[in-house]
């Protein structure tokens, strides 16, 4: 399986993602934002970080990068595109996934483990995964997902919500919402479910010595689904 990680100026989880993808069997290539061509890929990842310093608006400048036109074309033709954290912010700026990401409700950067409930398994990202709840790690300042009521209706009608913040038993309640996201949304698909944007970092949860191992479940499952 071939994967591609895009590096924007200010990306800082690109290496971590490269390490994780390779660990679970992807042949990964790093691609510079100013390049025009995407290499042949089964998965394209927009990594976390602070592309263009998050100046102007998180993800907005990166969404206009040269490489992004190729990524948008790739996604439109059904290619798998995963945006993590800043990558999610870039995805919403391109319009590949609906909604926006606002500043966290408590106006503070937040770095900690959270639980998320998988809300849809009819997609290549979560199909066949045994767990209902995963322990993931978040680290962001602007992860407060928001959309209009009309958008929300469409999102829900199409089962586009990927994961919601919850407790370890999968209970989705306000008190387990770390950033104020509408409906505790932590990750969202496009209509066709080949594009996934999410705030949590599975690449930081890939061995027992780190924050946990549920990231390993995610990547193992993903590569198997792509085979």
């Amino acid at each position: 399986m071939k994967s591609t990680v895009i590096t924007f100026p200010g990306s800082n989880c690109d290496r971590d993602m490269d390490v994780a993808l390779k660990k679970f069997g992807f042949k990964n290539k790093m691609v510079w934002h100013a390049d025009a061509e995407l290499p042949k890929s089964d998965l394209v990842v927009l990594p976390g970080g602070f592309s263009y310093g998050d100046y102007l608006r998180c993800g907005s400048m990166a969404s206009k990068s040269k490489i992004m036109q190729s990524v948008i074309n790739f996604a439109s033709s059904g290619g798998m595109v995963l945006g993590i954290c800043n990558g999610f912010q870039i995805l919403v700026e391109t319009g590949l996934v609906p909604g926006v990401l606002l500043r966290n409700k408590y106006l503070e950067f937040i770095c900690k483990n959270v639980f998320v409930k998988i809300s849809d398994k009819k997609n290549k990202y979560f199909k066949n995964i045994e767990n209902e709840v995963l322990e993931f790690h978040i680290a962001h300042n602007e992860g407060n997902y928001f959309c209009t009521n009309d958008q929300l209706k469409v999102i829900e009608d199409n089962n586009q919500i990927a994961i919601n913040y919850c407790d370890r038993n999968g209970k989705i309640e306000d008190q387990f919402n770390p950033n104020g996201s509408i409906k505790n949304i932590a990750g969202i698909f496009n209509k066709e479910k080949n594009v996934l944007g999410m705030m949590p970092h599975p690449e930081r949860m890939i061995d027992t010595s780190l924050s946990g191992e549920d990231g390993s479940l995610f990547f193992k499952n993903l590569i198997n689904n792509l085979k």
Partner: protein
């Protein structure tokens, strides 16, 4: 502008210093030259009051590759790997503008580390604020924490440990000390010593603006009521540019183009160019019209004194200019050839085709002033006798809850959750433990680091306090299973012109020196911050020690939370019942006098090394060192983190229960061991003459003392966690 004695004094120079400048130059300096002298000769850059004493610190050791004098210290961690690290203060600017002050402190220290070719792998910080009730404290705390996070998070470097304290002596002068560790290959370390004639001098990074002019001079004076007017001397940080600068520099360093490199920190272009020339015993010629400027019509004076951030000065090999420019173009950074090295041994500056400065380098460096300031010795205070009737009414659980909720002991989770501590995917011990630990990427090795200070002990008796803080650093590293290698120190004091403050400095340095010499824990880098003083009120002496240690196999790392029910808990190190200057004495008894706990270096080393041996033999399940709040506070924290209880039986001692549990005697650790290993552990401890007490056994969810007093761990956890959350939420 005509330069005279008054202008020099306005620049922070003393009258005799100005006379010396005129004598060295054999003429009156022009305004640019005066600015350069004032920047190089201020306390912050010249160490004129501290040099004499710093020389006495032990700086050598088998593992030391580079000691003080470079951008940062470097230690050997085997397999051609080395760790570059340093701590630095950004106290004065952080008080004036907390967000930018703290942010640029973090930015500055990271630059010091990657200037040497190392990729930063961990940040730490030690921050100190006034009384929580003081009207400025909350905003300063918020601003500093946001600033540290804002810069470090954007750079993608995890903040893995730190320390936050509150004391009214910081009401008018907060402390912000930032530390960075970087990883480099031993044969790819870069230094700031220029070499070779006619080599191009390159400016890269951000453009030069009018921010931070005289920042270093501002940090070399006490505060008064007009301090708010100093805001323009605070630099403004841009972590995004620094991230690009980091990647661009590392990319250029992968080749062989660089002869010398130096970041532009305090006193900007002035100190960076002069340091490179001085170390290389060369001259440097700069055309200031070539310096990329952010603002129009900047004068030579402003260009030389600006402390705009995210800039570097590089001496390149001839013919590598194009190659280097390509890299900086790729990262969208300014690149300009601004001068060359010369044999004149002078710093020669040109602007609009006129020579605007012409100063022999040695006048600025070797001939800079050095003072043997007057200082006063601090006598060891007399011990207090605790009267039985003063403590009779105290209930141990109530006291424990109060201590756990004390601002200096309580959980700082609300702070460190705002720092990205997991980026780079190698953080295996997060903040909140005894030390932060990161793996050396792609290897079995891990690096532990902690930062400590004990201002109260240093204030009561600087010599003992200086020793104690080095020992505490040593203990914190051992507590996570790391072998301590070396330290960096950030020495925060009041005015050196005050005999008491200078005495505190001299004796703290002496204490640090004695302990680091005895423990083979040399000082490889550091920084001095004097004038942490508002009018006549100085801070408590606060040397912060950043310790670094190595864990050969990261799977042997130890954490502090209790692991398993029925395991045994023991205390190693002797408890004498030293209450003076303890948190118990100061906050419960309101007794602020008396000596700090005595430091016995032999015991400290012996206890630590013996424990490390037992950890290597897999006999230890968890460890926490005993510090503020004594044994019971340490045990309570292990219970809270492990969500387990403990059944304690106080050993039969002559001292009473409160003294036993709250004393702050040094050299002690709490250990968790498996029952079946008890004999082995006891034998090793006895053989090595390490005193130990059996304390109790791990249980489900209550702290139970001598079968009469108990409290649930949930209740203790609430006391421990709620103070800061409540404070910061309101």
């Amino acid at each position: 502008m005509i330069v005279n004695e008054q202008v020099a004094v306005d620049h922070g120079l003393k009258k005799d210093e100005y006379a010396k400048i005129c004598e060295l130059l054999k003429r009156t300096p022009n305004i640019t030259e005066l600015g350069i002298f004032s920047a190089m000769w201020n306390e912050h850059c010249s160490y004129k009051s501290s040099r004499l004493h710093l020389k006495k610190l032990p700086t050598k050791g088998k593992k030391v590759i580079q000691g003080p004098g470079e951008n940062a210290g470097v230690i050997d961690i085997e397999d051609n790997d080395a760790i570059v690290f340093k701590i630095e203060s950004h106290n004065h600017p952080s008080f004036i503008e907390p967000y930018q002050g703290a942010a640029t402190g973090v930015g500055g220290i990271m630059r010091d580390v990657f200037t040497m070719g190392a990729r930063p792998i961990a940040n730490l910080n030690s921050i100190h604020f006034g009384s929580p009730q003081h009207k400025k404290t909350k905003n300063l705390l918020r601003g500093v924490v946001h600033g540290i996070g804002g810069y470090g998070n954007c750079m993608g470097v995890p903040t893995i440990a730190g320390q936050t304290s509150f004391d009214s002596s910081y009401n008018g002068n907060i402390l912000v000390n930032a530390m960075t560790l970087g990883l480099v290959k031993k044969d790819k370390i870069f230094y700031s010593k220029a070499a070779g004639l006619n080599k191009p001098v390159i400016y890269v990074g951000s453009k030069t603006g009018r921010d931070g002019i005289h920042g270093a001079s501002m940090a070399s004076a006490s505060f008064d009521e007009k301090i708010e007017e100093k805001k323009p001397t605070v630099q403004v940080g841009d972590p995004f540019t620094e991230k690009l600068l980091l990647e661009a520099c590392l990319e250029l360093m992968a080749g062989d183009s660089i002869i010398a490199i130096q970041d532009m920190g305090a006193a900007g272009l002035t100190s960076s160019s002069i340091e490179m020339a001085s170390k290389g015993n060369l001259g440097i010629e700069i055309n200031l019209n070539k310096v990329p400027c952010r603002e129009a019509k900047m004068t030579p004076y402003e260009i030389m004194l600006s402390e705009s951030q995210e800039r570097m000065l590089i001496v390149l090999e001839n013919g590598k200019e194009e190659h280097a420019k390509k890299i900086f173009d790729k990262w969208n950074l300014d690149f300009a050839i601004i001068g060359k090295t010369t044999k004149s041994k002078k710093i020669e500056l040109y602007f609009d085709e006129e020579k605007v400065a012409d100063i022999p380098v040695n006048n600025l460096v070797e001939n800079s002033p050095m003072y043997d300031r007057k200082w006063k010795k601090t006598k060891l205070p007399k011990k207090n006798k605790i009267k039985k009737e003063d403590i009779k009414h105290l209930k141990i659980i109530d006291v424990l809850k109060k201590i756990l909720a004390n601002p200096n002991v309580c959980s700082k989770e609300r702070i460190w959750q705002q720092y990205d501590h997991t980026v780079m995917g190698d953080t295996i011990q997060k903040p909140g433990g005894d030390a932060g630990v990161v793996r050396v990427h792609g290897t079995e090795k891990a690096i532990a680091a902690s930062v400590d200070s004990s201002a109260v002990y240093c204030w009561a008796h600087p010599l003992t306090g200086g020793k104690q803080v080095v020992c505490e650093s040593f203990r914190n590293l051992i507590s996570v299973g790391a072998k301590p290698i070396a330290i960096t120190n950030c020495l925060n004091f009041g005015s050196p012109e005050n005999e008491e403050s200078m005495g505190e400095f001299v004796e703290c340095v002496q204490g640090i020196g004695e302990a680091s010499d005895y423990l083979k824990f040399p000082v490889v880098s550091g920084n001095v911050s004097f004038y942490n003083q508002t009018k006549d009120e100085g801070i408590k002496p606060t040397p912060a020690i950043g310790g670094v240690g190595l864990i050969k196999d990261y799977k042997n790392m130890i954490t502090m939370e209790f692991k398993e029910i029925d395991n045994l808990v023991i205390v190693i190190g002797k408890t004498e019942g030293h209450i003076d200057q303890s948190l118990f004495a100061r906050t419960i008894l309101d007794e602020k006098n008396g000596p700090p706990p005595e430091v016995n270096l032999f015991n400290e080393k012996n206890n630590g090394e013996t424990l490390l041996k037992m950890i290597d033999n897999n006999l230890i399940k968890s460890v926490h060192d005993v510090s503020l709040g004594g044994i019971i506070t340490a045990v309570a924290k292990m219970c809270i983190k492990g969500k387990k209880g403990i059944n304690i039986k106080k050993p039969k001692y002559l001292i009473n229960e409160l003294e036993y549990f709250f004393a702050e005697d040094q050299g002690r650790y709490i250990l968790e061991i498996n029952k079946k290993d008890f004999r082995k552990v006891a034998d090793i401890l006895n053989k090595n003459a390490v005193h130990f007490d059996e304390l109790g056994k791990i249980t489900e969810n209550e702290l139970y003392i001598d079968e009469k007093t108990k409290v649930t761990i949930d209740e203790l956890a609430t006391s421990h966690k709620s103070w800061l959350t409540n404070y910061m939420s309101k």
